[in-house]
């Protein structure tokens, strides 16, 4: 992961863990072990805004930032997009396994048992 990507992830985690909107300074303090410049934090927040991950609101003369969607919302956005099986978009992504109904699950387990019986354990 690039340094910038890594920073974006850290900043998002700070915002996700915060109870209220944060100023740039707050974010900088939360990540103080990294000794980031104020402008660096601002750049990262801008980039996250462009990705629609961060919302900002004016507070006096400065801005305060908060996550545009919660961690859980963002996760389900990613997964829904990945698992979207609808027609024309089926080509977008491939994923390892989809859920099966109980009858198929039983057939699968049976086949697995047969397969493991055929090939004595190798590891």
């Amino acid at each position: 992961m690039t340094r910038l990507g890594e920073l974006e992830r850290s900043v998002m985690n700070v915002l996700w863990d915060a109870d209220a909107p944060l100023s740039v300074r707050d974010v900088q303090d939360a990540l103080d072990d990294r000794e980031l410049a104020y402008t660096t934090v601002m750049t990262v927040l801008d980039r996250l805004g462009a990705k629609d991950m961060v919302r900002r609101e004016r507070d006096g003369r400065a801005y305060r930032y908060e996550a545009a969607r919660s961690r859980a919302e963002a996760t389900s956005e990613a997964l829904n997009a990945a698992l979207d099986e609808s027609g024309d978009r089926a080509s977008a992504l491939v994923h390892f396994a989809r859920t099966v109904d109980p009858a198929e699950a039983a057939a699968l387990r049976e086949a697995l048992a047969a397969l493991e019986a055929d090939s004595p354990t190798t590891g």
């Binding site: 992961m1 990507g5 974006e8 992830r9 998002m12 996250l48 990705k51 991950m53 961690r71 963002a74 996760t75 389900s76 956005e77 990613a78 997964l79 829904n80 997009a81 990945a82 698992l83 099986e85 027609g87 024309d88 978009r89 089926a90 080509s91 977008a92 992504l93 491939v94 994923h95 390892f96 396994a97 989809r98 859920t99 099966v100 109904d101 198929e104 699950a105 057939a107 699968l108 387990r109 086949a111 697995l112 047969a114 397969l115 493991e116 055929d118 090939s119 354990t121 190798t122 590891g123």
Partner: protein, 297 residues
């Protein structure tokens, strides 16, 4: 006659032939050749239909006294030919752009949400209990995404098998194969459209990725991972699309001994060659010779 014959071949290749082939089991026994077969059928259908359109256009300008019915028939053939071509290019653009945008967004989210995984730089682990594994292919900068639930549900070897499976997708650019079928599917007007090539090739790329994972980690590990992940509970709503036949087809292949028999591959490749070459040799070339003579005189 040529335009109508080519049109009929195009129609046959667009609907009844895929429907028949989708029911056959043997193409799945040689997935790589099977994909070539589906590609050839789709390409041959497009070629036949556009050939029909082209020869119609030439016929319309070169015949002196066509009756109204024959003109009407030929105009229909021409329209279908032109439409298939136009849609093909439109669909190419549309699918490409759509896929790029969706993938970019997914990558953004995954990079923000996912924990990197030990020594495998492309892997991201999402904090999510639903067992999920998928890949976001991009040249030189892939992502393999798995959920915490996947890591917890699988043993070490099974997890490695899943990662090998996803890496095989990424390495062989199976996404491009499927995108191609997505494009071909959109190229045909709705009445002439079939899902079979896309669906069948989705199964076939999974079989190929399983083959790769099996070579590295053995059939039983891949099979255990498949059963564990397919069997796991799904949260309400979102992720429940049924896809059992894929899982069973994969399991059946994992149970076959390797190396696999050669004849399904040979059969697929032979049919591919025939559907691609036969219309050209039997119809298009005589027609071109004929058109050449007619126009030249």
């Amino acid at each position: 006659m040529t335009p109508v014959l080519l049109g009929l071949i195009g129609l046959a290749l667009a609907l009844p032939v895929p429907a028949l082939l989708a029911r056959a089991r043997w193409p799945l026994r040689a997935p790589a050749a099977g994909i070539v077969l589906w590609q050839s059928l789709a390409l041959a259908a497009i070629l036949a239909m556009s050939g029909a359109g082209l020869s119609t256009a030439l016929w319309l300008v070169s015949v002196d006294d066509p009756g109204p019915w024959r003109v009407a028939l030929h105009v229909v053939v021409l329209a279908v030919g032109v439409m298939v071509w136009a849609r093909f290019w439109w669909a190419t653009w549309h699918v490409w752009r759509d896929t790029q945008a969706r993938r970019r967004r997914n990558r953004e989210l995954v990079d923000l949400l996912g924990e990197p995984h030990g020594l495998a730089p492309a892997v991201r682990i999402l904090a999510e209990q639903t067992p999920v594994a998928y890949c976001l292919p991009k040249r030189g900068d892939n992502r393999v995404v798995i959920s915490r639930g996947t890591v917890e549900a699988l043993g070490e070897t099974e997890l490695e098998a899943v990662l090998a499976h996803e890496r095989a997708h990424v390495r062989a650019r199976h996404d491009l194969v499927l995108e191609g079928f997505g494009v071909l599917r959109l190229a045909f007007p709705r009445v002439l459209r079939t899902d079979a090539p896309l669906r069948q090739s989705q199964v076939m790329v999974e079989l190929l990725a399983d083959d790769a994972a099996r070579r590295e980690h053995g059939g039983p590990a891949v099979a255990r991972a498949l059963v564990t992940l397919a069997d796991s509970a799904t949260p309400a709503g979102a992720l429940g699309a049924g896809g059992g036949s894929t899982a069973l087809a994969r399991m059946n292949r994992l149970r076959e001994p390797t190396p696999h028999p050669r004849w399904p591959a040979l059969l697929s490749l032979t049919i591919s060659a025939v559907v691609l070459v036969a219309p050209t040799v039997l119809l298009a070339i005589p027609w071109m010779v004929h058109a050449w003579q007619t126009l030249d005189l």
